[in-house]
């Protein structure tokens, strides 16, 4: 399969209510042509509802949906020409692997010789060449996932939708498939909308991530800005670990415990604000460093976690924070002990101040 055409998706004011609950609340979102965009949110956030609106299985109460220039909001699923991969694969057990993948081609009246060739190409693309005659129940979870994917892309849809397709796989296979899915996307170039509740998966695979909560889009951004400059407390808490300290606006900017915080970029927020602390962005300093923002804390506990060591500490005002440090032999030799008082440093570039709320 060659790199095919792709279409941008434009979502405008899409609203869907179930009873009194709004599953989607005036959602606006643009998915760029050929982009890998992930809808990330907790369960019940509306991310799957939004995907079902894209697929055509859920008709929103109002709003507009464009594929390219075409309005498709009233178009039934089978006329939308989108590939879709479900969480539980939903392979057809009464057909063998080849027949599963041939299904969308036969519906489109593809000549028989072409069907066989394209099925084999799709199988090779997902690294299952020669598996056509296998029965579905003879496949492992990972193989089923690949067949479901091959079936969704064999008819070269311009849009591919995936609903938590890796959640049933074990961790190692999942991480392997993340890389593989991303590679496949880069090769085929179709616009991809991917739903997950796993923030690491979203960060690993996506061009951009749309964080959804309570039926609203909280933020749409590339992985790094999303992680480093979250728009609000929800995004900051949902992606990565973080603790928040109240900060007060003062003459020179924002201050915590009487000290004005050094920041790389002036924060957009005003009024009551919070300082976001991520454990891996804090460092335990051997000596004070005036280029950094510094906090004094008393160590409560030191937890060895294999790839890193988590130091749990309490600030003078009683706030608990975590500091993540490398677990190399040298670092472990000098790691703090419970009861020690330590000075923590936070670089101005990593100092993020968010509006409260």
């Amino acid at each position: 399969m060659a790199r095919g055409a792709s279409l941008p998706i434009t979502i405008r004011q899409v609203t869907k209510g179930y009873g009194k609950v709004l599953a989607l609340d005036r959602v606006d979102l643009d998915v760029r042509s050929g982009e890998f965009l992930t809808l990330l949110g907790p369960s019940g956030s509306g991310k799957t509802t939004l995907l079902m609106v894209l697929a055509g299985f859920t008709r929103p109460d109002h709003g507009s949906l464009l594929f390219g220039e075409e309005e498709v909001i009233r178009r039934p699923p089978h006329k939308r020409d989108v590939g879709m991969v479900f969480q539980n694969y939903a392979l057809f057990p009464h057909m063998d692997v080849a027949a599963n993948i041939a299904f969308p081609l036969k519906l489109r009246g593809t000549p028989r010789a072409d069907v066989a060739r394209r099925v084999e190409q799709a199988l090779e693309l997902v690294q299952l060449g020669g598996y056509g005659a296998r029965r579905v129940d003879q496949l492992s979870g990972g193989q089923r996932q690949r067949v479901a994917l091959a079936r969704a892309i064999v008819f070269e849809p311009r849009i591919l939708l995936m609903d938590e397709p890796l959640s049933a796989l074990d961790k190692q296979l999942r991480e392997h498939m993340q890389i593989e899915l991303r590679r496949l996307h880069d090769r085929l170039g179709m616009t991809t909308v991917y739903v997950t509740h796993d923030q690491r998966e979203a960060l690993t695979m996506s061009d951009r991530i749309a964080v959804i909560n309570g039926g609203r889009i909280m933020q749409v951004d590339a992985p790094r800005p999303l992680y480093e400059r979250p728009a609000n407390r929800f995004v900051a808490e949902f992606i990565g670990e973080s603790t928040f300290l109240p900060v007060a606006a003062s003459a020179g900017g924002f201050a915590h415990a009487g000290r004005v915080l050094k920041v790389a970029a002036p924060p957009a927020a005003t009024g009551r604000c919070l300082l976001m602390l991520r454990p891996e962005r804090l460092r335990i300093l051997a000596a004070p460093d005036d280029a950094l923002n510094m906090l004094t804390a008393r160590v409560e506990d030191v937890v060895y976690q294999g790839d890193s060591v988590l130091v749990q500490a309490v600030l003078p005002d009683g706030c608990r924070i975590g500091v993540r440090a490398v677990s190399t032999a040298a670092a472990m030799a000098t790691v703090a002990r419970p009861g020690d008082t330590v000075t923590l440093g936070l670089a101005p570039e990593d100092t993020v101040i968010l509006g409260e709320g």
Binding site: F57, H78, M84, A90, F92, R108, A148, R151, F155, L161
Partner: protein, 273 residues
């Protein structure tokens, strides 16, 4: 080690300790089957009357059955009614099962219960009710009337069987099929139906038998040229005790057993697939 002291299951219970259970089971089987099977030797009797055990053997009562226009006509009526009932009840029951399975509406439960009532209500009540309704509609003693009444009794069976098959069916498959380009009816016929086909076939066989074996409703609404076989047998038993009845019973036992065995085999296929 004798068979009696060998363990019967994974527990410590031996076959010896289970003898009483085997005896009870055998007795139950005998009580269930013998009254049915007793007509078989009686049908091959040469006697003028129903007689057990027969003193002389013959096929004359089978010949009598085959030679009687009345019996042959009743047989055809029954077969027609059973076949038509199957044709109507199978799609209806399947549609109901599918609809209730796919629907997320609140009244799925009440509708399901309503559809199953005909097999819970005593058949005599159904018979009386249908008779009065048919008297007004001029459907008494018509083939259409019999088929409709039997369909009412058969739909719940199809519904129950197909519903239980759908319980292990993943509706996401139909959604996938639709996303891949199949319209809703096409998704049903290409993806859903092939996976519940054994249940549908079992439902069809049981629909056929429901009508073919039914006597109570038939007593009320079938008659004259449209008398079913069971109804004619009932009349014959009242008027003239004649071993032809035993011959017909034997034929019906064979037909029913074969069809039930077929339904069983389909059920096994269903679990296997």
């Amino acid at each position: 080690m004798s068979w009696l002291s060998r363990p019967a299951t994974e527990t410590q219970i031996t076959h010896g300790g289970r003898l009483w259970l085997y005896a009870v089971a055998a007795l139950v089987m005998i009580f269930l089957v013998v009254p049915t099977l007793i007509v078989v030797p009686m049908s091959f009797s040469d006697s003028q009357y129903l007689e057990f055990p027969p003193r002389r053997w013959s096929l004359r009562w089978y010949a009598n059955y085959a030679g009687s226009t009345e019996w042959v006509q009743a047989t055809f009526t029954s077969l027609k009614a059973a076949f038509l009932t199957m044709l109507v009840a199978t799609p209806l029951g399947t549609m109901a099962a599918y609809g209730l399975f796919a629907s997320r509406l609140r009244w799925v439960r009440p509708v399901y219960v309503l559809l199953v009532t005909p097999i819970v209500v005593p058949v005599i009540l159904v018979g009386i009710g249908v008779f009065y309704a048919y008297a007004k509609l001029k459907l008494v003693n018509t083939l259409l009337g019999i088929v409709l009444a039997h369909t009412m009794l058969a739909v719940p069976l199809v519904l129950l069987i197909v519903t239980s098959a759908l319980k292990s069916y993943d509706m996401n498959q139909e959604m996938v099929a639709r996303s891949l380009g199949a319209s809703r009816p096409r998704a049903f016929f290409k993806v859903t139906l092939p996976q519940i086909r054994f249940a549908v076939a079992t439902g069809a066989i049981l629909s056929f038998l429901t009508s073919f074996d039914e006597v109570i409703v038939a007593l009320f609404v079938s008659g004259g040229a449209n008398s079913t076989l069971t109804r004619s047998m009932f009349n014959a038993l009242r008027d003239q005790i004649d071993p032809t009845i035993a011959a017909i019973s034997t034929i019906m036992i064979v037909v029913t057993t074969v069809l039930l065995a077929l339904a069983q085999a389909l059920g096994r296929q269903r679990q296997g697939s």
